[in-house]
Amino acid sequence: MDAARKGIVALPFEVLKRALLQPETSSLLMFSVLFGITAILQENFFEAKSIVRTINSFAPLILLAMGQAIVIISGGIDLSSGAALSLFTCVLTTVMKKDDPVTGVYALILAFLVALGTGVVNGLGIGYLRIPPVIVTFATSYAWLGIALFLRPTPGGESVPWFRVFYNMRAVEGVPEVLKSLGNYVPPALLLIAGACVLWYVVSRTRTGRYIYAVGSNIESAYVSGINTGKTQMLACVLNAILIFLAALFFVGQNQTGDARMGGPLTLRSIAAVVVGGIALSGGRGSVYLAIVGALILGFVGRIIFFANVPNAYQTLVSGIIVIAAIAGPAYATLRRELR
């Protein structure tokens, strides 16, 4: 009877403990805590303008993290995403001429083709040549960096004025009044993220979406079950490239320039966002939407560091420590459980 009573008392704790150990729960919990702290620290946090600013500053990382999540779920990893982002901004700003609005359309088409190309090259290496994903994308990241430096040795370039629609619809002439007023409440960055979510939602409802999970969780059995593993991993890489392309649109809309070295630090941050969001690095598990939560967590941590008056020089240090802590924590818990 004693044991039974102990069991009844312990049960809620067991359930709670098990729920907390779920990666989704802990990342959502962390998100809400950080959200609360930021909301308290920043006085005008809930004003429309400030919300728009927050979304704008987090948008590129969110898009990159979603792409990274798709590749990681398919059993790969993309170390070239930051370099690819820089490359696309360089392509866009090289093709565009300030005085000729039509060049914007050409730039969009060309940059999209380049994006597809980068995805295909990565997919070829990972899916068909079967080189370890880590090292393929490490190699391609330097190839993208090289091409970007050819196009734009120093940051700069020009952009057509209407490209600002990807950043702020009010800044562009000729946009219908309806869209302008919509842009007041729904910034373009949010639309880009929503577009990315819709894209993934559609893909995840198709066979390809399920194949991506299958290939990520066990590639051998996926192959034996008749899934074209090479094609699936290639598609994951292409999807990732499209999301990076969306981030590049936002970046050029915001800054009107291209920069060959701008994306470098974002690569590790996007991987960190995926890990913090609770997606397994081993692939096949977790939801792509969790990457958004992870990116928001990293963003809010950056905000809090900013409010704590920590100098900007410490940002890299802190983000490195967060990554180590985020991946070492769960691994340590697993190790403890195994040892017991």
Binding site: G146, A313, I327
Partner: protein, 345 residues
């Protein structure tokens, strides 16, 4: 050592390809040629071709001074390549992306300690050793005992180290110079012969002896070739991999001192530019990324090849862009020859 059958199959396949393309290749490589040096020989051939081609395109490229300068710069890549090779050979997807950053931090910290005086070289060495040990211990513990992916851990470690450097130099100039001994060792020439080669050659001989003539060969390469077999033979796989990261960290930190001697001053990203070449040199040098094979001789030849390529691209006026693009393409091409896994599945 445990023969890596799969690996030699790949070498054979590449050789058949080369023999078809260049008929004289088969004539040079008779059956007398040792297996583990075959890839290295191919790289040597590529380097010679690069030099001859470069000499034709760019006048003045094929001179003794140019070649010695290439060797001097390649020595640093080769030294970083040794760190990388130790980690990669032990297998398990090992890779150390923090080597260059460890070197930078050491250089930045010890520059102000030495400040151009020989007397403080001992202190600087001690600082370098401790720092390298700390980085290596952290990398090794996280990867082999917590079973975290080495790539992500060392990438994050690189961020942490660069973050420390950024914080250390924030808002002030980096002061200090290396001690004269280091400058003589790393930057000066004896006659026309760069002194750094007097460091590299003993290191290379030692590394090749350790990798190919001692029991460490069996342990290290055995763990890399087949960790299950090694485990059943009574080797502590985790400990071996842990120790490879420690060795890599300490070596990288000591190379930081040499790098400081060569540059004369410390700056924020002096070492980070060596991370990509160190991995590329290992891959070009024929060390399989899955571990369990390869020779340091090949890595040295690989770094000479890469440095020669860099020099040629610079001479052609392509600069940084051409260098990184060239490295990326070469690495990708070499990987698809060596590292691809076309068999099962």
């Amino acid at each position: 050592m445990l023969p890596c059958v799969e690996n030699s199959v790949k070498v054979r396949r590449m050789e058949t390809f080369l023999k078809k393309t260049f008929p004289w290749y088969g004539w040079i490589l008779g059956s007398w040629f040792p297996m583990q040096y075959r890839k290295a020989f191919t790289i040597l051939l590529l380097t010679v071709l690069l030099y001859v081609g470069g000499g034709v395109i760019v006048p003045g490229f094929l001179t003794l001074e140019q070649i010695l300068l290439t060797l001097k710069l390649a020595a640093f890549i080769a030294l970083f390549g040794l760190c990388q090779m130790i980690v990669i050979v032990a297998g398990g997807g090992g890779l150390d992306l923090s080597v260059g950053y460890t070197a930078t931090l050491t250089a930045v910290l010890t520059a102000s300690i030495m400040d151009g005086r020989n007397a403080y070289l001992g202190v600087a060495l001690l600082v370098a050793l401790v720092l390298g040990l700390l980085v290596g211990l952290a990398n090794g513990a996280l990867t082999s005992y917590l079973k975290l992916p080495p790539l992500v851990v060392t990438l994050a470690m690189a961020d942490i180290l660069q973050g420390i450097v950024n914080a250390y130099v924030a808002g002030k100039a980096i002061t200090g110079r290396p001690s004269p001994v280091l400058v003589t060792l790393a930057a000066r020439l004896t006659g026309v012969f760069p002194n750094i080669l007097f460091v590299l050659i003993p290191v290379a001989v030692l590394a090749i002896l350790v990798f190919e003539r001692t029991k460490w060969e069996q342990i290290l390469f055995g763990v890399g070739a087949n960790e299950r077999t090694a485990y059943l033979c009574g080797i502590n796989v985790k400990k071996v991999r842990f120790l490879t990261f420690v060795a890599s960290g300490v070596l990288a930190s000591l190379i930081g001192l040499l790098l400081l001697g060569n540059m004369g001053i410390a700056f924020k990203d002096m070492g980070s530019n060596y991370v990509m070449p160190s991995i590329a040199a290992v891959v070009v040098g024929g060390v399989p990324l899955a571990g369990g094979g390869g020779s340091y001789f090949g890595v040295i030849l690989g770094s000479i090849f890469l440095q020669a390529l860099t020099n040629l691209l610079t001479a052609l006026g392509l600069g940084d862009a051409g260098k990184w693009l060239g490295f990326g393409i070469i690495l990708f091409a070499m990987l698809s020859v060596y590292a691809g896994n076309r068999r099962s599945r």
